[in-house]
Amino acid sequence: MTSPAVEAVGLSKRFGTREVLKGIDLRIAPGRVTGLVGPNAAGKSTLIKIVLGLVRADLGHLAVHGETVNGKVDYRRAIGYMPQAAKFPENLTGREVLRMLRDLRGVDGGLDQELIEQFRLEPELDKPIRTLSGGTRQKLSAAVTFLFHPSLLILDEPTAGLDPVASGIFKDKVRRARDARATVLLVSHTLSELEELADDIVFLLEGRVRFHGPLASLIELTGLANLERAVASLMRENAA
């Protein structure tokens, strides 16, 4: 068996008195799209942030591509992160932001500019970011995410704020990345999007993993025809 792209063992985190993660055990398979679902405050963001090194777990172990994270830096070279709402410095232009990130990673060439072309971002890159619309900023954020050929993509509600055309372009890009053996961790509330993209589903509830498996088996397990009903039934089951 190939080693997992992300492996969590007994991951726990509390913020003050609130226990956000209560012992997460998870092995995210490489080269697949894993949808991370769950109600608000289930711990999805915290889990992602621990993978990114933005938040430190209180307990447990986390490895990315077989390397223990624990305060290290270099493993993030392989990660492309798209936050929920990207906020870039208002006075800069898109091109300056791209150059800055390239500088920061010490990468000269070989960038993946496909999304910049497909979103027709080129003419927007020389305008100050404060003059760009929310949708254009989100497109820029998506382009940044794919810029360095990441082998692990972490996408937090990526298509919220994108119009249907841009959303379609984005989803195609995710599929192509997956076909090129990239691992994708996709947080989404849009279940139709998950149905389109996800191979596996991780269902988080109150800081625990309640289901992890192929999308098809979730639907089979609950005996319901689509993901929306299957997830709703999982939530009901857990509440009962």
Partner: protein, 263 residues
């Protein structure tokens, strides 16, 4: 070029186009010019200038610094998700924030002084100390801004705390010192007063500067104490070291918090 330097360069790109920073420079330019040309005579103008530095520099540094850090929060998060270490990021952010403020200050105060130096005679030593004090206060109050922005999750509370810090150090502290003097006037107060001064960077700056102009007598009883203590080289060195400690301690705490923080 290392990571910290890259962050600095990038911030400079952002901040040279910042309206608040431009406003700060213009206000300093205007005030300094007005004081020099309308204030009559170099020495008196410089004493007024001293008040501008002691009040405006801490205010601008702590408020602008805190505001900037809250505004940049999401972007800092994105940068920390890149292969960048936290200490390098912290160093880059701090230098990138203080450098434009120091330049704004240097330009706003220094330019009019340079232009007027032909007509108004100002002791060079006093000038150097004025500029150095302004720069040190900038370094101190931006370091405090980092502490506040890291400590308070909520932006409104962070900005409120920044305002409180400024009010406390630049305005209220003197009142407290005066109360102490009034209440305990019968006791020998040299050492407590010296301690109180060292605990406030704004006071340290004031004492350092006033003593340069031989008007310490204006400060009365405490002035005499300080004259005796700060007047000589050892006193000056002590005050300078105290100010440097005021830079180093908040920075060290800030770095510690920044490393451990959950973003």
């Amino acid at each position: 070029m290392n990571t910290a330097a890259r962050v600095v360069r990038f911030q400079l790109h952002d901040l040279v186009r910042n309206r608040w920073l431009l406003g700060y420079t213009v206000v300093l330019l205007g005030l300094t010019s007005a004081l020099l040309w309308l204030g009559g005579g170099g020495e008196r103008a410089i004493v007024s200038l001293l008040d501008v530095v002691l009040i405006l520099v801490p205010l601008a540094s702590v408020m602008f610094g805190t505001l900037y850090l809250y505004n940049a929060r999401e972007f800092i998060e994105l940068l920390l998700a890149q292969p960048v270490g936290r200490p390098a990021m912290f160093a880059g952010l701090y230098v990138g924030l203080t450098a434009p403020l120091v330049c704004g200050f240097g330009l706003g105060i220094g330019l009019p002084l340079l232009v007027s130096s032909a007509t108004v005679s100002i002791p060079a030593r006093a000038l150097v100390i004025l500029l150095a004090t302004g720069i040190l206060l900038t370094l101190i109050f931006t370091a405090i801004a980092f502490l506040l922005a890291l400590r308070f999750e909520d932006r409104a509370r962070g900005l409120g705390a920044a305002l409180a810090v400024w009010l406390g150090f630049a305005v209220l502290y003197d009142g407290v010192v005066l109360l102490v003097v009034l209440a305990f006037g019968d006791y020998p107060l040299e050492s407590p007063l010296l301690a109180l001064t060292v605990l406030n960077p704004v006071d340290l700056g004031r004492v350092l500067l006033l003593l340069q102009f031989d008007i310490a007598a204006l400060m009365g009883y405490t002035g005499a104490v300080f004259q005796r203590f700060f007047g000589d080289a050892l006193g000056m060195a002590t005050a300078t070291v105290a100010l440097l400690i005021w830079v180093a301690v908040p920075l060290a705490i800030g770095l510690r918090w920044f490393r451990r923080r959950d973003f």
